[in-house]
């Protein structure tokens, strides 16, 4: 067992994903560097990772989101960028954890469409979102009866 000393304590890291026909991750990175004031910015193939003091990171995130609000998406990240336990430079292959992002990025254009149409929607319109099927499933009592009928 070795002692663990965390790096970047007291900081937050946020992912910024861009899926826009008008903006690339490098455009976003240039804008982020202009306003970063010492906050760590890492450009990636999907957007950016921003690490620093929470207030400064939120300020940068809000400024960047304003550039293309319907096509820039933000979420928290637990690890700082380049962490040897997560970074694929150390792991020698694709790192785990991007499957969810990959799946959601395929659908994100639908969410962008929803965000774009939101201002023109009347507040009294009741939304009908895709909901789980209400078809009844086999209940336990019925299953028990089936089992008993087979046993007898």
């Amino acid at each position: 067992m070795t002692a663990y000393s965390p790096r970047y304590t007291g900081t937050v890291t946020k992912y910024i994903f861009v899926e826009s026909p008008e903006m690339t991750p490098s455009d976003l990175a240039i804008r982020a560097y202009e306003i970063s004031h010492g906050v760590m910015i890492k450009e990636t193939c999907f957007g950016l990772q921003v690490t620093g003091n929470e207030d400064e990171v939120n300020q940068i995130v809000n400024s960047l989101r304003a550039l293309d609000p319907a096509h820039i998406f933000v979420k928290d990240r637990g690890f700082p960028p380049g962490d040897p336990r997560r970074c694929r430079a150390n792991l020698g292959g694709a790192r785990p954890g991007y499957f969810g992002h990959e799946f959601e990025m395929d659908l994100i254009r639908n969410v962008s469409k929803g965000l774009e149409s939101l201002p023109s929607r009347k507040p009294e319109d009741i939304p009908h979102p895709p909901a789980p099927s209400a078809a009844p499933r086999l209940d336990a009592a019925r299953l028990k009866k089936i089992i008993e009928s087979q046993e007898s």
Binding site: M1, F79, H128
Partner: protein, 149 residues
Amino acid sequence: MAKVFLYPTTSLILSDLVARFGHTPLSAALQIRERIQTPGLESPPLQITPEEPKKGLKWAAVEVPSGVRGRMSLYGPMIDKAEAAIIINNADYSFGCMGCARTNELIKFLIRKRDIPVLDLEYPMNENEGVEFVAAIKRFLDGLHGGEV
């Protein structure tokens, strides 16, 4: 501003929409960050230590596998803090080993048992569904305390 539990807890779409509409998303990253930034003994990759399954006993019985209890030590405190929840039911990527599958069932059960407002959805597979999906989330979040309505 309400604390909104997300399922899947790593969802980018939910995390973004909840924060965008003025509430606090409770996602797995916050719990991981807390562990990553706490000094102690090296326990890669997620700094999950043998203490976690013990903490998980608050939400899962002792005969439940330690994998479930360890995961519940991450998600349990967020479920307890949550004031509302948004659940996406067809998140196939969140299915993993038996630990994950049983944890997912337990998370949904505990959320429903909390008796807090819950929005049940599925991922939008086309643009029309996307429009309704976003509108439903906005409407749900506006109805919570600290929302726009």
